[in-house]
Structures are given as structure tokens and as C-alpha cells.
Symmetry: C2
Subunit: 409 residues, 2 copies
């Protein structure tokens, strides 16, 4: 007997037949003697529709995306699915009912459009579950201190599920999606990618932050913090999926767990920046003030001892703003500002790096052999990221995947 939170994403509840299949899956879990709480997303595509409706109402004064009413509108996507799935479960003879964020309640802060969960009052749900009832909880939504409907931002349902697992002290949180688990690389690009049986929290966190779409980063952070065992699996097959767990629960170690790519970054190079103390502050201070996050940074060795070239990356979405800020920057003197958004960030990730030398070397050699020029490098204890020209994305991923021995044999 285990207490499990089962979360189903938008494609898993994409139409009435799929909702019924999900219901059968839940029934099986209940009949094998588990205590089940369910968390659902909106039907795939519905949230985007609702967002569009909101933006049609937006104007100069009001940006819908962060408004109280935006949350009122988009939260309905999940509400509909909780009701439909509860009906489907009742038809299978289970006692089930829907729970909206305000009914649980799932208490969040008041930041509309990207609220954070502050607490979940679990006693009502626990009562239900001990009576053998199945609560179907709306993901993505909560209620603010002012008793307004809030939403957690895109992908928020993963976070709802993990937060609920924490509140219910669940043994596991199963995230059902449209892929069979976490892969060593994106299988659509790297056909030889392998599905991982297990992956450590730290690795999963790096992978999601560095481009892997399978889970929402915040949900992994939360699972890691509270040591909730996560499982990512498909709602369309019976494959066992991938466990996200503590490092020491992983028996057979690989040097690397995965290789990711992200096209969300853009590069900015400033040439002939006066090479003197305080220059970094003069560049990055104004960017920080403008809420532009700077990720990778490289400062070339100064040739003449007077000036240097400075290169760094920002989110593509922030590029325009960053350029504007830098050109305004009075305290800052440089020759040219060269923005470049045709770049991709490739990252190799694995806790095995800690104990192995030469991981970076393999990466650099492999890319060099393919004539791929590395523009920027950044590393952490368990990952190495390089910025390269976007056109090499697929080539680089496949080459590295083989070089690190990750290919399916």
C-alpha cells in the first residue's frame, strides 16, 4: 500500500477517450491497494486559447498576462478536466470528486500569472483518501491571500503535483506525459538516445534548466528539497518510466546522464572595452537593473593591455532590451556591440563528472574534430555548457552522444 500522487498532462487528457483511458489507469492503481490523489492539467491547446482570449482584451493600460482576471480565465482549463475526469472515474465505480485550488485550498502568494505555492491544507483531501475516495485536483491554480484565483505560470501543474505530494507525505509522485521518460538526449534529434531508468535530482535540475522540456524546473527543485521521489512516465504505454531520486539510490552510474540543447540564449560581444577595474560592474550593473539575466560570460585576454573583448549571453527574449541598455550606458566605453541570436547552448550533464577528469576535454575534442567552433564556455560541478553556432545543433548533439558512449548499442 502506497500513497501516490498521479499527475496527467495536457496530451494525456487531450480528448474524452484519453480521459477515459486515464480513468482506467487510476482505477488500476486504486485496485492494487494504493491511496491515490490525482492532479490534472488543461486539455492540450486549451490554455493557449484562453490566453489568446485574454490578450484580445489587453490594452496599453492593462497587460492581461499578469492580471487578476487573466488567472480567472485561464484557470478554467484545469477546472473543466477535473470535472470530466471525476465523472469518468465515477463511471468506473470509483468514488471521486473534483477539487479546485480554492476548495483544497492551495494557498499561493498574490503574484498573478506566476504565483508561488505557500501552503496546501491537506486535511480535507487526506480524509477523502482514507475513506477510499479519489480527489481530482486542478493543477496550475491556487488561491491568493485576497481569495482571488491565481495560476502558477506555464508548466505549473508539475509543481502543483509535487507540492501536493509533499503536503500529503506521498510515497511517490508520478508525472504522466507523452514521452516514456527522461532520455539521454532529445530522441527526435538523437535517434540513438537511451531512456534513463534513474536520474539524480541535481542532474534533472540541470537538464530542465538547460533545455530538457520533460519537467518544469521549479517542480524538480521542490522535489529535490523535500526528497519526493518523482517518476516520469507515459500515459500511452506501460513502460516503467524514469525515476528522479537521490544520487545514492542510483546503482549503475554513467559518467553522463544526458546532453541537452537550448535555443533560448543570445550572445552579445563588446569589443575594445577599456580593460580596467570596475568594468564588469559598468557592463552588468545596468543589465541587472533592467532585469536582464546574464548567463555565460567570457573576457578575452587583453592584447594591448588597454582594451579587451567581452562576450556574454542573455535570454533571446531580453536581447533587444539588453542592447538598448548597453548603448545608453554612459559609464561604458567600447568600440562595437555585436548581438548574435543564431547560437545554441549545448550542455553535457552528469554527477559522474565530479570524480572523472577529462570530461571537458572529450567535449572540446569532439566538437573540434567536427570543425565546430566553441564561442563561450561555462561549467558547474556537474555540467559543461558551450555556446556554438545554431546550425551545428544536431551534428554536435549526435557527435557528443556517441563520444560519451551514450548511444543505444
Amino acid at each position: 500500500m502506497a500513497r501516490i500522487v498521479m499527475k496527467f498532462g495536457g496530451t494525456s487528457v487531450g480528448d474524452s477517450d484519453r480521459i477515459k483511458k486515464v480513468a482506467h489507469r487510476i482505477k488500476t492503481a486504486v485496485e492494487t491497494g494504493n491511496e491515490i490523489a490525482v492532479v490534472v492539467s488543461a486539455m492540450a491547446g486549451v490554455t493557449n486559447q484562453l490566453v489568446t482570449h485574454c490578450h484580445q482584451m489587453t490594452c496599453d493600460q492593462i497587460w492581461a498576462g499578469s492580471s487578476r482576471e487573466y488567472d480567472v480565465v485561464v484557470a478554467t482549463g484545469e477546472q473543466v478536466i477535473t470535472g470530466l475526469l471525476a465523472l469518468a472515474l465515477q463511471c468506473l465505480g470509483l468514488s471521486a470528486r473534483s477539487w479546485q485550488g480554492w476548495q483544497v485550498p492551495i494557498c499561493t502568494d498574490g503574484i498573478h500569472g506566476s504565483a508561488r505555492i505557500e501552503s496546501i491544507q491537506s486535511y480535507k483531501l487526506l480524509n477523502e483518501m482514507t475513506l477510499g475516495n479519489v480527489p481530482v485536483v486542478a493543477g496550475f491554480q491556487g488561491i491568493s491571500p485576497k481569495e482571488s484565483v491565481t495560476t502558477l505560470g506555464r508548466g505549473g501543474s508539475d509543481t502543483s503535483a509535487v507540492a501536493l505530494a509533499v503536503a500529503l507525505q506521498a510515497d511517490r509522485c508520478d508525472i504522466y506525459t507523452d514521452v516514456e521518460g527522461v532520455y539521454t538526449a532529445d530522441p527526435r534529434i538523437v535517434t540513438k538516445a537511451r531512456k534513463l531508468d534513474r536520474i539524480a535530482y541535481e542532474e534533472m535540475l540541470e537538464m530542465t534548466s538547460l533545455g530538457a522540456k520533460v519537467l518544469q524546473t521549479r517542480s524538480v527543485e521542490m522535489a529535490m528539497k523535500h526528497r519526493v521521489v518523482l517518476r516520469v512516465l507515459s500515459s500511452f504505454t506501460d513502460a516503467p518510466g524514469t525515476f528522479v531520486c537521490d544520487e545514492d539510490e542510483i546503482v549503475e552510474r554513467h559518467l553522463l546522464s544526458g546532453i541537452t540543447y537550448s535555443r533560448d540564449d543570445a550572445k552579445i560581444t563588446l569589443t575594445k572595452v577599456a580593460d580596467q577595474p570596475g568594468i564588469a560592474a559598468a557592463v552588468f550593473g545596468p543589465l541587472a537593473d533592467a532585469n536582464v539575466n546574464v548567463d555565460m560570460i567570457v573576457q578575452n585576454i587583453s592584447e594591448d593591455g588597454k582594451t579587451t573583448d567581452l562576450t556574454f549571453t542573455v535570454a533571446k527574449a531580453d536581447l533587444k532590451r539588453a542592447v538598448a541598455v548597453l548603448q545608453r550606458g554612459s559609464a561604458l566605453s567600447f568600440d562595437r556591440l555585436i548581438p548574435d541570436s543564431d547560437v545554441v547552448k549545448i550542455s553535457v550533464i552528469g554527477v559522474g563528472m565530479r570524480s572523472h577528469a577529462g570530461v571537458a576535454q572529450t567535449m572540446f575534442r569532439t566538437l573540434a574534430e567536427r570543425g565546430i567552433n566553441i564561442q563561450v564556455i561555462s561549467t558547474s560541478e556537474i555540467k559543461i555548457s558551450v555556446l556554438i553556432s545554431e546550425e551545428y545543433t544536431e551534428l554536435a548533439l549526435r557527435a557528443l552522444h556517441s563520444a560519451y558512449g551514450l548511444d543505444l548499442s
Copy 2:
């Protein structure tokens, strides 16, 4: 300065442009110094979609239509519009926010799918309004004693609006729809139909119960009981609309206010029923037990003194059930059971009847002149209804409309 509840139906909020137009109308009402509360329906067609989704989930055990979860799903239609309209109002510089049934709260009983409003706590809304804010309230929905979402049944938004007007002690409740008011007859059939400036509660009540679609019957009952001045008007024109008010507020009286038709009835004739005491009980008892409402009844004069023919009407939707019940009815002996659903009920309505003789006579003569056979008759103090063959619907309506001098000159 007046306090007004403005209610907008599904076609009035049918797309984003219409929602913006509605917002402008509300702004004008506010700027002319009124205190405004708004009630909205779902976008036209959306509720039907949601109902379809629910029925796709229905099974033998569960009939979705009266389930807790049905209400959870269909209530989202109104929720979306409250958010979108509030955004549109904010873009016009008004301070507005959405209110769901559970937030007001609008307290109902627990009968899902057709809940009744028991009380509305108005103090929060009144605070808003006295501060110059515009509450946008979701019609059609409420919250049950168990804190579940409930809905009032089709057309329920009219009732929400009137109930809110009562709770807010509003001076008037304006119902915005896609017609310019209440007509002497359906203008799509009777081209010479006239729009009424005023109509008495009692008349409006009869008209809605006898087929006029313009308002929901329950909302008129409530308005009459609490003497709320109703106004029916178009959200697409600036025509003044029709006031529904006390009889004595209507200066120039007509003999009739309107002529309606309803195709919702079916006729059942039982031939050679033993003409003896208790026969009515034997027929109508079992029907009542089976929740079949009987409307018009006529028992012919017995020819042989032993048997008689009995004719009555039931809702078309109940015909099958009624026939089944009667054929089972052991205590009941008759020769033949003749069901007939090709019938229409034509009604002439007007408080003027009370003081005028010959109204029925005019009706019977007019129909006779057109060779239209009257199958069943029923009357009340202020209306006369006849059941005729459905094929004569248009002919009968036009003939009666002229005969009673209602035609546009």
C-alpha cells in the same frame, strides 16, 4: 443616480469585439452617474459545448446532467466571460473585477444542474459599488451548502440578475439580449408584430411559460414577487426596450399584450374510458407518480353514458414515458391510446381580459373562419390557450394578431 443591474446574454458577449462593445455600454451607464453591477452569461454556444463534453463522460451509473461535476464543468463558461469583461472594463479606465458564485457568495441549494438561489450576501458587492467599482458577476452559478459549485439550469443567468437586483435593492434590472424587447408575437413569424413599451408581470409570466423565449420564467416570477422593475432591451441597438412592471404603471391598456405559441406539447387521447368516478385518478395518478406533468385536459361528454374519451397534453419530452405508464396502468380500461405530437399550443394573453367579455369568442371565430380545428382549450384569468394541428401555427398566429388589432398600422 440609480442602482442598476445590467445583465448580458450569450450573444451579447459572443466574441471579443462584442465584449468590448458591452464594456463601452457599461462605461456610459457609470458615467451618467449610476451604480452598476453586471451579470454575464457564457459566450453563446460555449455552454452547449461543455454540456456535450459532460455527456461524453456519462454512463449507465452516472447521468452527468444532475451531477456535482457537471456543474463544475459548465460553470466555467460564465467564469471566462467575467474575467474577459473585467479586463475590457479596466482598459476603459474603470475599476472592475470578476466575481464567481462562490466569491460573492450566491448561496443555492444542493440540487446540481437546477439549483435554486437561497440567499445572496451582498455586502462585499455593495462596498465595491459605493467605492465606484464595477463588480462583474458570473450568472447561472452559485455555491451549495457543501461549498460545491452549482448551476441554476438553462437560462439561469436571468434569474441570477434578478436575484442580485433584489439583494442589492437595485432600482432596475436591465436584461440585454439580441432582440429589442418583448413583442406582441414572434416577429420572425408575425411581421406586423409590435414591440411593447410596457408589459405587466402577470402577462410576462404567462408569455414566458407559454412559449415566449425572451426571458426565463423563474426570473419573471422572482421579479414579480419582489417588484423588481425589469427592462428587456437589445445590446446591439439603442432602442429603449420593454419594461416589465406593475399593471397599474401601464397607462394605455390593450385588450391583449401578446400571442405566443409552443411546440413543446404532445397530445394523448384515450378512447372509451369507463365513465365512472375515480377515473381521473386512475389516469393521472400514475402519470404524476412518474413525474409526468399534465397540462390541458378535456373529457368529452359521454355518449352512451358508460364510456367517454379523455384527451390531455404532456410535454413532448415526456410523451414516450407517459404512454408506457398508461399502457401498464392496470386499474385503467380504455379502447385505444392515440398519441399525437404534431400539435402546437397557441395562447392569447392580456390582463385586459378580466374586464372584457368576448375575447375567447374572437379567438374561436377567427380560427373557425380559417378552417382550423381546436382540439383542446384551457383558460386562466388572463390567457386562453388552444391546441391545434402544428401545420396551422403561422396561419393562426397571423390571423389572431390581426383579429385582436395588434398589427402595426
